[in-house]
């Protein structure tokens, strides 16, 4: 394709910076965890299901959420830990739906294994509920064509990729990611938009996701 084909409108890269807000709420057992998960704000569920992605971006992408890690490591319940870790985050279009799935997983497990409610975390290893405050701001990077888009992807922060791939999809309930929307709408590149939309960003590290996005864009340019 013509790498210089100008987009109908430019793509403005944003960045998203997170601040962790403490709630003072903590759980030592599964029933306590469940009760708090049911009532905390959505930004709290978001924090505990997405924090790993940002803070451990270089690692293997597991474990994908704090609930799974705590249940396995602090309560010593590997089976429920595995069930929580395998919740397919990408299937849920809203935080509300994701929360319901986490609740259903714990409730179902407690019904099957009632003794699990008697497990408790040692003092000092309680689950502390934290919520994310997100600050979204425009960066100095703007792409007018696919070549510029690929070049900027090499430079921007992981936070920026994160914002356009995850935050747009789930927290803001946009359904897909910002890159696909622009590539299809402003460049008319339906196949590339679809290939990017199909990526499951939750099973990759953010650096791997960056590499894959660059590869997809560059291979389209060289065709």
């Amino acid at each position: 394709m013509d790498a210089m084909k100008r987009a109908r409108e430019p793509f403005q890269f944003y960045t998203r910076l997170n601040l962790s807000e403490l709630t003072g709420l903590k759980a030592s057992t599964l029933p306590e965890l469940l009760e708090i998960i049911e009532t905390v704000p959505g930004s709290c569920i978001y924090h505990h299901t997405h924090r790993f992605l940002q803070q451990h971006q270089y690692l293997s992408p597991e474990p994908p959420n704090d609930f799974a890690y705590w249940v396995a490591e602090s309560l010593g319940d590997d089976e429920l830990g595995e069930k929580l870790a395998s919740i397919d985050t990408i299937q849920f279009g809203t935080i509300r739906a994701l929360r319901n799935k986490i609740i259903a997983t714990i409730v179902g497990y407690l019904a099957d294994v009632p003794s699990a409610s008697r497990r408790f975390a040692r003092e000092g290893e309680e689950f502390h509920f934290i919520k994310s405050s997100s600050f979204v701001l425009p960066t100095n990077y703007v792409a007018n064509d696919l070549a510029e888009f690929a070049e900027i992807l090499k430079k921007i922060t992981i936070d920026s990729i994160y914002y356009h791939m995850f935050e747009a999809r789930l927290r803001l309930e946009r359904g897909t990611n910002d890159f696909s929307v622009w590539i299809e709408g402003a460049l008319g590149e339906k196949d590339l938009a679809r290939d990017i939309a199909r990526l499951d960003p939750y099973t990759r590290t953010l650096d791997d996701l960056r590499r894959t996005l660059i590869q997809l864009a560059e291979s389209r340019i060289s065709k």
């Binding site: 403490l22 003072g24 803070q55 451990h56 290893e125």
Partner: protein, 403 residues
């Protein structure tokens, strides 16, 4: 002192660009830090680095001090220990002394910031001067299990602030104000953390008579029971049965501390007769600490209680595999089996160290993961970003803020 651009080679230019964007959003606001001392102690150390960098980012940052006599600081020292959960006899007179000195500071300190950032309990009463501006209380102390009397006394002041900042989730309390989690950080360009030429490392080992003939396990900590140096020797002895190695226990600060001197004596006694244990009472020398960490095969931090435990970040930044107790801020720095190994006992520590000595490839991977974790979460640049975000949050209460 390093300039902000020098950090770009470590964290990437785009991270520095983000900091500048945030700085732009704070133009026109005066940020006033207030604490009790400009030298010595962790708070002064952080402010000495952060204030110039914030200014470089375009944030009008000032730094002022409160005054207090010997009696006042003796009382605040007691408060500090009591907040840490230590048993302290606190008399009504102590509270009176605190109130009297605070009243003088409320009268005399020139409070002029749009945002007033109060560090620790000593200047907490300045909140009396709150008008239309914004106030943050930054608690650097571990208040996970505080003496209730002291906490309730301080709480009356805390609740009048707009926000509070704590270093670990376990320090947060139920309070009617926004509370943020901001972990401390290390400076990758400081003497304690910067890259060192191999000759410097060799020279320090030579100076202390430590041969490099076998793997070295090291704990860097002052000689304090809460750091469990005797437990470290016990763990080392268990490891030694399977893997020949050396142990370095290095730290300072025992000279004017009777308890520290007693602990050092116990450690020396326990180490007696084993030429592979090196107990080093070091003066404050950051390059030597840096060199000892870099010379080590495994770093241990077997604390029983820990405020935050930044020695763990220092070791991980040097890509060293770390074994550390699951206390205080340590689990924020180490995710078990991903970026280090957490333990709860002497046996657990020994088992983890054996694993690391026997599996160098696994140890290397943990160390490399650890270094990246520190790069992303525990360097000074992240700390600067969080502070600027807290300042902005004072004007934006919503969960998603579009700037």
């Amino acid at each position: 002192m390093a300039r902000i651009e020098e950090y770009a080679s470590i964290v990437g230019q785009s991270t520095i660009d983000d900091l500048r964007l945030l700085g732009d959003k704070l133009r026109g606001k005066v940020i006033q830090h207030i604490n009790s001392t400009s030298v010595g102690g962790g708070v002064a150390e952080i402010l000495n680095r952060m204030v110039p960098l914030l200014r470089e980012l375009g944030v009008d940052t000032r730094w002022d001090l409160i005054k207090g006599g010997e009696q006042f600081f003796a009382v605040t020292k007691k408060f500090h220990n009591a907040l840490h959960g230590r048993r302290e006899e606190i008399a009504e007179r102590d509270f009176e002394i605190f109130r009297e000195t605070s009243a003088e500071n409320v009268r005399d300190v020139n409070v002029h910031g749009d945002i007033v950032f109060i560090h620790d309990p000593q200047p907490i009463a300045l909140i009396e001067r709150k008008t239309g501006n914004k106030w943050i209380w930054r608690c650097h102390v571990d208040v996970s299990d505080p003496n209730r009397e002291v906490w309730e006394f301080l709480r009356d002041y805390v609740v009048r602030y707009d926000s509070a900042v704590f270093s670990s989730p376990s320090f947060s309390q139920r309070l009617p104000l926004r509370q943020f989690l901001i972990a401390p950080s290390i400076d990758p360009l400081s003497d304690k953390n910067r890259e060192l030429p191999p000759e410097t490392v060799d020279e320090v080992l030579r100076k202390y008579g430590i041969p490099r003939d076998k793997p070295i396990i090291t704990q860097i900590s002052r000689f304090d029971r809460l750091k469990d140096p005797v437990g470290v020797i016990e763990a080392y002895l268990q490891v030694k049965r399977y893997s020949d190695c050396r142990l370095i226990l290095a730290g300072g600060g025992a000279a004017d501390d009777p308890e520290g001197a007693a602990v050092l004596e116990e450690v020396r006694e326990k180490a007696h007769g084993d030429p592979d244990i090196h107990v080093l009472l070091l003066p404050q020398n950051d390059i030597e600490i840096n060199a000892l960490q870099r010379a080590s095969t495994v770093i241990i931090q077997k604390s029983i209680k820990e405020g935050f435990g930044l020695t763990v970040s220092e070791a991980l930044w040097k890509a060293k595999p770390v074994v550390a107790s699951n206390v205080g801020g340590i689990p924020l720095q180490i995710t078990h089996r991903y970026s280090g190994l957490l333990c709860h006992s002497v046996e657990g520590a020994a088992f983890a160290m054996k694993q690391l000595l026997a599996s160098p490839a696994y140890a290397r991977r943990l160390g490399e993961n650890g270094r990246e974790h520190i790069r992303n979460n525990f360097l000074l640049t992240r700390h600067l970003r969080d502070y600027m975000l807290v300042f902005l949050s004072l004007y934006h209460p919503e969960d998603v803020v579009y700037l």
